[in-house]
């Protein structure tokens, strides 16, 4: 079952004395139940607009959206109790303590106070729960935002840049929390982030946004594989001779900018390389496919012309 379905959604923002700014341009997106789904894209690609539309804060110009199988925004009141969200910066009363801020939200949904304490404990803010929100560090504010999102024990947890402002230890803990929530079999985490490493480490699936459209989606490995060049990295002790041999054998060869290996492209069968080099008594120390990393895939996808 899909927890998020977005079909043909358009959204433009009117601007004074300027043409409208197109934020979403026929966005199609499906997020299946379970696991952690990364939502990746450069600034202005439409990630936050998508989340805002899903949560009913912004209205779409056209298109259809479903959240947990229900059409939104029409049926949003019926499903919001199962959706936790942290969108950009946490939004709380600056003069209230963290605990009071959470209690007010919990009261809105009829959630018991014991759950507030659980969530404060979970994000390590129980001892500081009565301190005023405005006195919190950026990381503490972010953690309180995560606690608020978890209050409902959501089936779908939408996190927009949850690592913002966290120190390295905090970032690691959030990532571990997200992974564990994604593995619990009930919660689907929809994680919007500009941190490629975060998406690569934490997510099972990824959707990449560019210019208001989803330009790639699927399991992270599959997205990476689809961006793979099919090239091979070849390493031999005498790389100069080996390069000449491979060129003579008709291979397309390039230098590895990150090391002393040789990059060979357009190879039908890696065994052809082994054969060509061994005939000249050159023996391999490495023969490996050149795997695309998410950063390369991301840059390639988001910088491509429409």
């Amino acid at each position: 079952m899909a927890v998020i379905e977005v079909a043909g959604v358009h959204k433009s923002y009117r601007r004074r004395r300027k043409p409208p700014e197109r934020a979403l341009d026929g966005l199609d997106l499906v997020v299946d139940d379970g696991g952690v789904h990364g939502f990746l894209g450069p600034n202005g690609s439409g990630k936050t607009t998508t989340i805002r539309i899903l949560l009913g804060l912004v209205s779409a110009d056209a298109g259809a959206l479903r959240l947990l199988g229900k059409p939104v925004p029409q049926a949003l009141p019926g499903v919001i109790g199962q959706v936790g969200a942290l969108v950009e910066t946490p939004l709380f009363y600056p003069n209230f303590g963290g605990r009071l801020n959470l209690r007010l939200l919990a009261e809105t949904a009829g959630i018991p106070r014991s759950r507030v304490e659980e969530c404060l404990e979970l994000v390590g803010l129980r001892e500081r729960g009565d301190d005023r929100f405005k006195g919190y560090s950026l990381g503490m504010k972010q953690r309180l935002g995560i606690a608020a999102a978890l209050l409902k024990k959501p089936r779908l947890l939408i996190l927009d840049e949850p690592s913002n402002g966290l120190d390295p230890a905090g970032i690691r803990e959030v990532r571990e929390l997200v992974q564990r929530l994604g593995r619990d079999g009930r919660t689907t985490v929809f994680l919007s982030s500009h941190l490629l490493a975060e998406i690569e480490q934490v997510c099972d699936h990824v959707s990449i946004m560019a210019r208001g459209r989803c330009v790639a989606t699927g399991p992270v490995r599959q997205v990476l594989a689809s961006r793979s060049t099919g090239g091979l990295r070849v390493r031999v002790p005498d790389s100069v001779r080996a390069r000449a041999v491979l060129v003579e054998a008709g291979f397309t060869v390039a230098d590895d900018t990150h090391g002393d290996a040789i990059l060979v492209h357009g190879v039908a069968d890696p065994a052809d390389i082994t054969r060509a080099l061994s005939r000249k008594r050159l023996y391999l120390t490495e023969l490996s496919p050149i795997a695309a990393d998410l950063e390369s895939a991301f840059l390639e996808l988001t910088q491509a012309q429409p």
């Binding site: 804060l57 109790g81 939004l91 809105t108 009829g110 959501p154």
Partner: protein, 351 residues
């Protein structure tokens, strides 16, 4: 956050799709009660009230001894006699113009009624029949100003902190959110106005007992007073909602209070000076009309003209703004302001 890494995340059970009935209302009441600014403003208002009462009790009011009263009455009699002596001199003036009526040129005959004896006492006695209704109006005015500030800050702070948007993650029905907030504010305004009036009533009884006299109360005194106080409660509700509506429109408490100040301090006075005939639609005049027993009698200046002698002559007419007129004007203004804010909130994209 050290526990976070080691704690087992239990598979969550879903929160109820439909929260218990009244949960948003309870949360909003809790939110209203917990706002430090609201607590501080109310505390300051109470301190201010206590100071004013203490000051008035110490300097303005006091029980009068028979000797003091007799001395004051003698004082009044002397002044009446002196004034009438001046009048007699005036009447004997040979150059008195024949075309000007006597009472207009020399004034009417003076009596003791023209000079209230309280004005000739160092400390006037607190007279319940006069001072209780007058003080109730002052308390109503102060409560109305306070309610405007509370209404503005209640919703303005939510916009400033953007916690209004966070609330929509929990209750996406925007109209319901507004409806509940308006309900809470209305309830708070009623409580504020009732407490203010009750407090003043108690204070006035105490002051009459210790610093004046209860005396014989006019017929229908309590009926008139309760009517006036009931309309005062309505005024406080209107101003609270006006503050809310304005703040909800501009999404900022400070801006709403600034607009309120500009309107009441500048716009209304400018209208009175430039377009006198519009005065009957001004909020302040209608607020007074709503509260005062019998309404508010105002003089509307028409366009002036220059007469044959070259003097500028102003003409006008007196009109009565009834309680109903005042209530309707304030009610419509409040409804329009609140409705526009709610409608925009319903339709706007929120970022």
């Amino acid at each position: 956050m050290t526990d976070l890494a080691t704690e087992t995340v239990t598979p969550p059970a879903a929160a109820p799709d439909d929260p218990p009935r009244g949960s948003l209302l309870r949360a909003e009441i809790h939110r209203f009660r917990s706002r430090r600014f609201i607590q501080v403003v109310i505390a300051l208002a109470l301190v201010g009230y206590a100071l004013i009462i203490a000051l008035a009790s110490a300097t303005e009011f006091g029980k009068t001894t028979p000797e003091q009263l007799a001395a004051a009455e003698r004082n009044v009699a002397e002044i009446v006699e002196e004034q009438n002596r001046f009048r007699e001199q005036c009447l004997r003036e040979p150059n008195r113009p024949a075309d000007v009526p006597t009472d207009m040129f020399c004034g009417p005959p003076n009596t003791a009624e023209n000079f209230p004896v309280e004005q000739f006492l160092d400390k006037a006695p607190f007279v319940l029949a006069d001072n209780l209704p007058a003080g109730a109006i002052a308390v109503a005015a102060a409560s109305a100003v306070l309610a405007f500030v509370l209404g503005a800050t209640f919703v303005g702070a939510e916009w400033s902190s953007r916690s209004m948007i966070a609330l929509l993650f929990w209750e996406p029905r925007r109209f319901k959110v507004m409806r509940v907030k308006l309900g809470v504010l209305t309830g708070a305004a009623v409580v504020l106005a009732l407490i203010g009036q009750a407090l003043w009533w108690g204070t006035a009884l105490g002051m009459a007992h210790y610093l004046g006299r209860t005396g014989t109360l006019p017929k229908d005194f309590y009926a008139d007073l309760l009517g006036q106080q009931g309309r005062s409660v309505l005024l406080v509700v209107f101003t609270a909602l006006l503050g809310f509506g304005l703040s909800n429109l501009v999404r900022n408490t400070g801006a709403a209070l600034g607009i309120g100040f500009v309107y009441f301090a500048i716009v209304e006075n400018a209208v009175r000076a430039i377009r006198g005939s519009w005065q009957e639609w001004l909020l302040t005049d209608n607020a007074v009309a709503l509260v005062l027993n019998g309404g508010n009698r105002i003089f509307l200046f028409d366009e002036g003209f220059v007469d044959e002698q070259g003097s500028y002559v102003e003409s006008g007419r007196e009109i009565l703004l009834t309680n109903l007129h005042g209530g309707l004007v304030l009610g419509v203004a409040t409804a329009v302001l609140v409705a526009v804010g709610v409608l925009l909130f319903q339709r706007r994209d929120l970022h």
